[in-house]
């Protein structure tokens, strides 16, 4: 009974998601980039690192985004960079959400001293300025790869999610089915992942989305500051090389604009999806499109001027 009810809820939530215009637009944009990332080996016309082309070319049929000042094909770098940036974003968000889930739910579920300690740790991570912490770590970890950076971003950024998960866990820990599970002797991890988890899908989805956006932005920032191995290839490293190669000053907009726009697009798509999820799970956030039913229907007017 419980199980089927949960399933029905998540199905209808999914249906709601795809009925929400914002969510659908966001999902479509994001999917487009995912497809580009998955098929990067097929889509990229050249080896992104190869320096075999004429340097500093503008956009052309042969090189959609021109070439770098060392003669690399920027379009190929962009395509491969899509893959890297998405892996970093998605991977990092999965890791940080998992850490956040375990710590947050464990704290909320256990309560008491455990909660006190974990909650304090959470708060410490929350108030530490993230990028400054990342820079501090990078200063000792020279030229890490985007993937390592993704892991570091996750390890330093899980606290946001943990806070949300903790409060949700606290609110459902005393519900009957959790109490029943506990009384029947279920292990803590089982209660956390089997009983509690399905009840916070929207929070998890929302956290995954924001962590992904955060990771993509943070990775590109670190790359831009030059904290990534030069043989790596992400949107951030393209921007780093564009800056390094004077793309701005020579007006080579095709070098620095695409990665920036791509990050913004992916970010916006994620934000749109999150916006959609918010509206689905929170009926009060829904905007009611007021169709005219009958002409003379005073109830349709907003009352109280709101």
């Amino acid at each position: 009974m419980m199980q089927t009810k949960k399933k029905r809820n998540s199905n209808s939530a999914l249906r709601g998601f795809f009925r929400n215009a914002k969510a659908v637009v966001g999902f479509s944009i994001f999917s487009l980039f995912v497809i580009i990332g998955i098929f990067a080996p097929l889509l990229a016309p050249y080896d992104p690192q190869s320096t075999n082309f004429a340097p500093s070319l503008g956009p052309s049929v042969a090189h959609f985004f021109g070439t770098t000042n060392t003669g690399q094909d920027i379009f190929s770098q962009f395509i491969w960079g899509t893959q890297t940036s998405l892996i970093v974003g998605v991977g990092s968000s999965l890791i940080s959400t998992l850490i956040g889930f375990i710590i947050g739910v464990y704290a909320g579920y256990k309560g008491g001293t455990v909660d006190g300690i974990l909650n304090t740790i959470m708060n410490v991570f929350l108030v530490m300025p993230g990028l400054a912490l990342l820079i501090l770590i990078e200063s000792y970890l020279k030229s890490s790869t985007p993937l390592i950076n993704g892991v570091i971003i996750a390890v330093t950024g899980w606290a946001w999610g943990a806070r949300v998960f903790r409060s949700v866990a606290m609110s459902i820990t005393n519900r009957d089915f959790i109490v029943a599970a506990r009384l029947s002797g279920a292990k803590t991890w089982r209660i956390m992942f089997v009983e509690i988890l399905p009840n916070m899908t929207s929070q998890i989805a929302s956290n995954l989305i924001y962590a992904c956006l955060g990771a993509i932005l943070a990775e590109s920032s670190l790359a831009y500051l030059g904290f990534e191995s030069i043989s790596s290839n992400s949107w951030g490293t393209i921007l780093f090389w564009a800056q390094n190669g004077g793309a701005m000053l020579s007006g080579s907009w095709w070098w620095f604009v695409p990665p920036g726009i791509a990050i913004a697009l992916v970010g916006t798509s994620l934000a749109l999806m999150n916006f959609g999820i918010d509206q689905i799970t929170n009926p009060r956030l829904r905007i009611h499109k007021k169709r005219k039913i009958s002409k003379k229907n005073p109830a349709l007017e907003p009352s109280g001027g709101m």
């Binding site: 690192q49 320096t51 500093s56 000042n69 060392t70 003669g71 000792y140 020279k142 030229s143 030059g226 191995s229 030069i230 043989s231 800056q243 390094n244 190669g245 004077g246 701005m248 000053l249 020579s250």
Partner: protein
């Protein structure tokens, strides 16, 4: 990108010696007498962070221009032209079997009006003796005494004969006794109100900008420009943009695509040239059993396309290095006539493979040359974030791979890299690094090849080279000195103790909108970069308003 500045600055600090055999002081700065212009000269020696209020000449981190505009040494020995410029000294001469040098001082005043005398010189050196932490060039490891011989004469006596070392000694900035006597350890002092003998004094300071104002009583005449303005820029874009938009008159910055970004914006006024400043080497650790084999080093040298490195990794701002370890054309006069035809290094991968095969190496199943089951596989260390060298390392990796030598590029933090190269235990196989230069090739060789050299990174210990360098250091006879260096050049060519790659450029951009008289490529009479200590002031004294 940061790297270029760092090494350039490091090297210019070391570029302070000369060959003192060449008939004493030769070149007095030409001091024009023109009306002073009030338009500030905008100088960006190097983009770096904020400034700190420190104009202490004994601090390695003093603000640009401290050495030159404010403090002067006795003489300045230029590494690009090889010339000597008289500053506080007007003449020096060797005696006592080349152990003693006597310097005649200029009759001038400190910027606060007090007279400059031999007491100040003696004080300065004794202060370094008292506080070894400030004696960063190790003067008192060589000096026996510094004594005044009258108000305008100083006698330096060395423990042993080491003629070239005197170029470091005569290059020490002289500070006023009346200000510094009470300061204590000069290595720990921050000097915020410097009193010097130079053409400028400190005008104003803030973290983002400081200004020098003309010292109108300068012994070399009224400086032609009233104010020198030094704004702070970050290394990323701000400095480049400032230069590109014509806000900077004189700079020592690395800019990608300088022709398009800078010159073409105002081709009439915007100029640059990058004279070679040192040799960038692919160092080989000779303690490594495989790298100690000459054919391996020869093969690697043959397999590297230096033009590609210069054009791709170095943006075409430099040229392939010479086979002799000399910086050309700066050191043209020192080329062994017998080696004239062998100066240029060749790129010949086929020959590289032949050399290895001849030495008994065979390609294994991975296509890598191996002997006795040991493949030619090395790690190559570079500094992470020094992007041009990082790129070069990648190119070298590709090229060596093509002939059958495997290379793994390791990007290290600067301190780790530096510890691996110049620490007591040298844990590296291949590394890209710089050379330390001076007004003659002796300095480069002495640093790099002498068994006790400061930068003997490859750990060479060779009698012929050592003897030649010692012989050089004990004579003031130019003929003898040349003969000594020819031996080293031959060793460099035939034994390839390390592999020269390309010249490290001196960064130098200038804009003639407001001022002209800058050194040009056609007349490279001095190291032209604003980050070059002492040369900076000499260059400014030669400028004049454009209109």
């Amino acid at each position: 990108m940061k790297k270029q500045f760092l090494t350039a600055v490091a090297m210019s600090a070391l570029t302070i010696g000369t060959l003192l055999g060449t008939s004493g002081s030769a070149f007095a700065a030409h001091m024009p007498k023109l009306a002073q212009s009030t338009t500030p000269l905008e100088v960006v020696p190097s983009p770096n962070g904020n400034f700190q209020d420190n104009f202490n000449p004994f601090s390695a981190n003093a603000n640009y221009g401290t050495l030159g505009f404010i403090y002067e040494p006795l003489f300045y020995f230029d590494n690009v032209s090889g010339k000597t410029f008289d500053l506080l000294g007007t003449n020096y001469s060797w005696s006592n079997g080349n152990k003693t040098v006597t310097v005649t001082l200029r009759n001038t005043n400190w910027s606060d009006g007090k007279p400059f005398t031999s007491a100040d010189v003696v004080f300065t050196f004794n202060m370094l003796k008292k506080y070894p932490a400030a004696d960063t060039t190790g003067q008192w490891q060589q000096l026996a005494s510094v004594k005044a011989a009258g108000p305008h004469k100083v006698v330096f006596t060395f423990k042993t004969t080491n003629v070239p070392f005197a170029s470091y000694t005569l290059n020490i900035p002289i500070v006023p006794q009346h200000q510094w006597a009470s300061l204590g350890d000069p290595s720990k002092a921050t000097m915020t109100s410097p009193i010097g003998t130079g053409p400028y004094t400190l005008g104003s300071f803030s973290a983002q900008d400081y200004k020098y104002v003309a010292n109108d009583k300068y012994w070399g005449g009224v400086p032609p420009i009233k104010t020198l303005d030094f704004p702070a820029y970050s290394g990323n874009n701000a400095g480049d943009m400032a230069l590109a938009s014509g806000k900077v008159d004189w700079a020592g910055m690395f800019l990608p695509n300088i022709q398009g970004i800078f010159v073409n914006k105002d081709a009439q006024h915007n100029h640059y040239y990058y004279p070679p400043g040192n040799v960038v080497m692919l160092y080989t650790n000779l303690k490594d059993p495989i790298l100690s084999q000459l054919p391996v080093r020869q093969a690697m040298s043959l397999a590297i396309d230096r033009n590609k490195l210069a054009n791709e990794g170095e943006y075409g701002y430099t040229k392939p290095a010479s086979a002799l370890g000399l910086i050309l054309p700066n050191n043209q006069a020192w080329v062994d006539p017998a080696l004239k035809s062998k100066v240029n290094l060749s790129y010949n991968p086929a020959q590289a493979m032949k050399v290895l095969e001849k030495a008994g190496y065979k390609k294994n199943s991975q296509g890598i040359f191996a002997k006795n089951g040991k493949p030619l596989s090395f790690s190559l260390q570079v500094v992470a974030g020094w992007t041009d060298w990082d790129t070069d390392a990648g190119l070298i990796q590709q090229e060596l791979k093509a002939v059958g030598i495997n290379v793994n590029v390791e990007q290290e933090a600067f301190s780790a890299y530096n510890n691996n190269l110049s620490g007591t235990k040298k844990s590296y196989q291949l590394a890209i690094s710089w050379t330390n230069t001076g007004p003659s090739p002796y300095f480069l060789f002495q640093n790099m090849l002498w068994s006790k050299g400061n930068y003997n990174v490859e750990q060479l210990s060779n009698k012929t080279v050592d003897n030649a360098l010692v012989s050089f250091s004990q004579t003031t006879n130019p003929g003898q000195q040349k003969q000594d260096l020819y031996k080293v050049e031959n060793y460099m060519l035939n034994q390839v103790p390390s592999i020269p790659l390309f010249y490290g450029p001196v960064w130098y951009e200038y804009r003639t909108m407001n001022y002209t008289g800058f050194p040009t490529a056609a007349n490279p009479w001095i190291n032209p970069s604003p980050y070059t200590n002492y040369a900076n002031a000499i260059v400014v004294m030669h400028l004049h308003p454009a209109h």
